[in-house]
Amino acid sequence: MSKRRILHYLNQFFGQIGGEDKADISPMIKEGQVGPGMALNQGLKEVAEIVNTVICGDSYFNENLDEAKAAIQNYLDEVKPDLVIAGPAFNAGRYGMACGHVAEVAAEKGIPVITAMYEENPGVEIFAKYAYIIPTADSAAGMRKAVPAIINFVKKFIETDGEVGSPEAAGYFPRGIRKNFFAEKRGSLRAVEMLIRKLKTEEFKTEYPMPDFDRVAPNPPVADISKAKVALVTSGGIVPKGNPDRIESSSASKYGKYKLTDLLEFTEDNSETAHGGYDPVYANQDADRVVPLDVVKEMVGEGKIGTLHDYWYATVGNGTSVANAKKYAADITKDLVADGVEAVILTST
């Protein structure tokens, strides 16, 4: 069979357009390969070719979903690829979401999609059913491993005509798709064997893992916000000017707690963002755009909000692990409960 034609999707950074200052560029299409596409193409040259590369800014994609998806649809109709590769996106949330949306659009057209991300990227949970998502490290430092992993998977996909096998065997995140097959032993026998292993506290593997829905039920509403104590929390990295705690711009190892009693609003002289995952220009000019301190103070003054907790809390939600985010939130919550806070406004970029 002739070489498969591949369309490759990249964000503005890996597409070599620019950094966060270019995250708002709209989709564009290029001939041939760009960035990591070069190495992918080289590795796949016997069986496939990246014929076109589509590049879009991460912020643009997530803020203009309908337009971005329509553009992807048009490119797919024009190019008619046999396969789509997206990313790898590592632990970049917006990029992972964009790769996932690309996968969804392609899946609707029956075009298989192969992408690669870190397990905590929100794109994995939301879009696994639309794509083969290969696990990667949590940062682009894992590119050297991610590229051969994608190449091997694509080769296998082509060789087997799409019958790559189970997620465990072929190395991709489970897609929630059931395939019928004939097992050697009948179900009752397998169940009893499993039970015996369980009773002996030996290792056993369920054939039907229950989904892990860690949901928290909504709390009752605040009866009257004009009498309530409110606190401000953000994952958008708003810190006092100079970032006194040196919160990292990605994969933050801590959160900050900062006094707001002497402030009426944020200005470019008293605050900045430590977040490295979005264009910082606007938040550095006026951090009220991320944590609405000015408006909240005003409304406390007008009696529309009861009182404001004396501190705001900030971390950088850029590539931060779920385990760390949980830990910070547990500490912050202890504080809030001790101070009788009744409602929280949490802002994310």
Binding site: E20, A23, S59, N62, E63, G93, R94, M97, P122, E125, I126, D214, V216, A217, P218, N219, P220, P221, V222, A223, D224, I225, A228, V233, S235, G236, Y278, D279, P280, V281, Y282, A283, Q285, D286, D288, R289, V290, P292, D294, V295, M299, K304, I305, T315, A325, K326, A329, A330, T333, L336, V337, V341, E342, A343, V344, I345, L346, T347, S348, T349
Partner: protein, 77 residues
């Protein structure tokens, strides 16, 4: 973080631009924001207009906190 604070019994409103992520992380009261680099602002507006926009979002967030809900809810308008 939203989920952990909510777990402790404090209602949280999550003001976030990428609503699908907010839904995935388990926020219950969600107010869609303006844009990723400026969720509660718009640098293209003049200061007064921008503040009005921010105030409207904060008011919507407070309304969300005062609203009884039984499942994840996105407060569109």
């Amino acid at each position: 973080m939203v989920k952990e604070i909510e777990r402790a019994g404090i209602p949280v409103v999550h003001v976030a631009t990428v609503v699908p992520i907010s839904l995935t992380v388990g926020a219950n009261r969600i107010v869609p924001a303006i844009a990723i680099p400026y969720p509660l602002g718009n640098p293209k507006m003049d200061c007064t207009e921008e503040k009005k926009l921010r105030r409207a979002l904060v008011e919507k967030s407070l309304r969300a906190l005062e609203t009884e809900i039984h499942e994840q809810t996105v407060f569109e308008d």
